[in-house]
């Protein structure tokens, strides 16, 4: 990639992205363990193999930008700037969590950092992001919204409606589609006649790009460019980021019943973390060990913080229903 574009490797930037990806990878590994130990409740949707997307995309956003993500969005939550201690505490249902333990991991929300919500409903948060973009457009602000979702989400009516309006009104919003080829256990080709998702944007006249979602710099640059266009009033961009979750759909899915071992193995080879690591190695960037250790520590500290945090009080049950 550096070869293609020509500019000198920005090692500070790359190291930052690498670190972000490692944090996510390590956090999710640990969450899986906590789930298996019965400490983490409910279903857990990991993004193993997709780590370049949150890291790359959020690095191109500003704090004032708004995002909505899904149940598979831990990486964005962290990369957008939410405090990892409070994120993990929420995932473990603690009072110190982002949402006081009320929302849980599918509903991580942090207005301060522009996180308008993870979501448990497929397509449920897309209009929210478009609405934030409407706000920013009205204000003429240098702010945009980004919404992240999977390939299967394009089949939901709510997505269609929101995209149509976003384009009609030329709102500053980025539709970041993580095309990991499956929606739960159903391959894309069995849920839609048009599997090249960019083509579907013809219905809305939305600028659409397909990129390698495992190339963190490509993700970053594409989002950055889309952001620039959005604030200039050029309207939304749809980014189809090709990727793959090498893990299962959720903690109890080994991910093997509906995919061949060869297919999974092929994508494991393409892990964005390995790839970036190779680039860094090739460029002889130093100090990676410290970065890696630092990333582990951040995660371990956050888990320790969460585990040491109190559970909510029953007396808080009826609070926060109305403002």
């Amino acid at each position: 990639m550096a070869a293609k574009a020509g500019p000198p490797l920005n090692s500070t930037l790359l190291i930052g992205l690498y670190r972000q990806m490692l944090i996510l990878q390590h956090l999710e590994k640990r969450l899986m363990e906590l789930s298996q130990q019965g400490i983490l409740r409910g279903s857990l949707h990991l993004a193993t193999g997709q780590e370049a997307l949150p890291a790359g995309a959020c690095s191109a956003l500003k704090k004032e930008d708004a995002i909505t993500v899904t149940y598979r969005g831990h990486g964005y939550v962290l990369a957008k700037g939410c405090d990892i201690n409070r994120v993990v505490a929420e995932i473990l249902g603690r009072r110190t969590g982002l949402c006081k333990g009320k929302g849980g991991k599918m509903h991580l929300t942090d207005i301060e950092n522009g996180l308008l919500g993870a979501n448990g409903i497929v397509g449920g948060g897309i209009a929210t992001a478009v609405g934030a973009a409407l706000s920013f457009h009205i204000d003429g602000a240098d702010r945009i919204a980004m919404t992240v979702f999977g390939d299967g989400t394009l089949n939901q009516g709510a997505t269609h409606e929101a995209m149509n309006m976003a384009s009609l009104w030329k709102l500053p919003v980025i539709f970041l589609c993580e095309n990991n080829l499956y929606a739960e256990m159903t391959p894309l080709s069995e849920s839609a006649p048009v599997t090249e998702l960019t083509k579907r944007m013809a219905a809305y006249d939305i600028r659409a790009l397909r990129i390698d979602g495992n190339d963190v710099m490509a993700v970053r640059e594409t989002v950055a460019d889309a952001r620039r266009r959005a604030v200039k009033g050029e309207g939304p961009t749809f980014i189809e980021a090709m990727t793959y979750r090498t893990c299962g759909h959720y903690q109890n899915d080994p991910g093997t019943a509906y995919r061949s071992k060869a297919e999974v193995a092929e994508w494991q080879e393409k892990s964005p973390i390995t790839r970036l690591r190779q680039q860094l190695d090739e460029s002889k960037v130093n100090g990676l060990k410290a970065i890696e250790d630092g990333a582990m520590k951040v995660v371990e500290d956050a888990i320790a913080f969460a585990l040491a945090s109190p559970e909510p009080n029953v007396s808080e049950l009826k609070e926060d229903l109305f403002a």
């Binding site: 919500g117 209009a127 929210t128 409606e161 926060d320 109305f322 403002a323």
Partner: protein, 322 residues
């Protein structure tokens, strides 16, 4: 000043948009055209295209957009042309909007109003005549407002727009042609306060929205028969003004609830369950209800009339009680 109900709504919208530039309006035909029921007349002209948005026929989409706008500092007032159409947007209303504040542990807010219109008696048939407030009361997180007259429409809408929470504001199509005295200038009727519109001692009739106007007529008829009914206009169904109801039931010891929505799992069932639980020893008779019948609303006039509340039905049930 005498105004029609839509004029009263319109006045509140004009005033609040002027007062607070974060108030924006979205909906089908609300802009250039001024709204199917004329409630948004003149707003587009007065406030321009950045404040008043004509939307495509995408209720789930534009209600969801309202949420995103509300979470980022706007106060959207959305017109949903018929409450029956809420059913294409239920995920946004009940899974997203109603839960936003709670799920975020209080860090996010959704100060928005969904203004909608419901009710029967006009031959609009099964998909354009419903009163569906119960669906929005069942799933927690929304305030639900049901004005019965033009003045309250203005005052309650003002309060709804200023509220920090999502509010479902249900207008009744039969009320659109009614007029009444409406205070000029700012008029604020707080959410959650019922009003005794007719004091009485023999029984309590609790109602709201258009059915309230039937209840008042019924009370007049009953008075002629020597039955002195107290009539309460709830105005807001959530929050519920329990005290006003309890005081009245403690006085009359008899309760009749009248509303147009389907009876089963309706608002009346809920209030009856609460009252019999909390005021069991105060009751001299079973709590009775006049509701819409539990069938889709039929088109033919005789059937539609038979399926909905009427002055006569209220009078009859009240007689049984008194």
């Amino acid at each position: 000043m005498t105004s029609t109900f839509p004029q009263a709504i319109n006045a509140a919208l004009h005033a609040e948009m002027k007062r607070d530039k974060s108030v924006i309006v979205l909906g089908e035909d609300v802009g250039r055209f001024g709204g199917m029921f004329r409630c948004t007349e003149g707003l587009f002209k007065a406030f321009g295209e950045k404040r008043v948005w004509d939307t495509p026929i995408s209720e789930s989409g534009f209600i969801g957009i309202g949420l995103g706008a509300a979470m980022t500092g706007k106060r959207p007032v959305i017109e949903l042309m018929f409450i029956d159409f809420s059913l294409v947007a239920m995920d946004q209303i009940l899974n997203q909007i109603a839960k936003t504040h709670f799920m975020s542990g209080g860090n996010a807010r959704a100060p928005m109003v969904i203004r909608t219109q419901g009710g029967g008696y006009k031959g609009a048939a099964a998909q354009h005549s419903q009163m569906l407030e119960a669906l929005f009361l069942h799933v927690p997180g929304l305030k639900v407002v049901t004005p019965s007259n033009a003045a309250d429409a203005k005052g309650l809408l003002t309060a709804a727009i200023r509220d920090e929470n999502p509010v479902l504001f249900i207008e009744h199509k039969q009320l659109y042609s009614e007029s009444g005295e409406v205070p000029e200038g700012e008029h604020f009727v707080p959410l959650g306060k019922a009003i005794v519109v007719r004091p009485g001692k023999d029984l309590t009739i609790v109602s709201y929205s258009f059915t309230l106007t039937l209840a008042i007529k019924a009370a007049e008829k009953l008075a002629a028969e020597g039955i002195d009914a107290e009539v309460i206009d709830l105005r807001t169904l959530n929050p519920l003004d329990w005290d006003t109801i309890a005081i009245s039931v403690r006085k009359t010891h008899k309760l009749l609830i009248a509303h147009e929505a389907y009876g089963r799992c309706g608002f009346g069932a809920d209030l009856a369950a609460q009252v019999q639980e909390k005021l069991f020893d105060e009751l001299d008779a079973p709590i009775l209800r006049v509701c819409g019948e539990d069938v889709p609303i039929p088109f033919a006039k005789v059937l539609e009339d038979a399926s909905l509340p009427s002055v006569e039905k209220i009078v009859e049930r009240a007689r049984e009680l008194a």
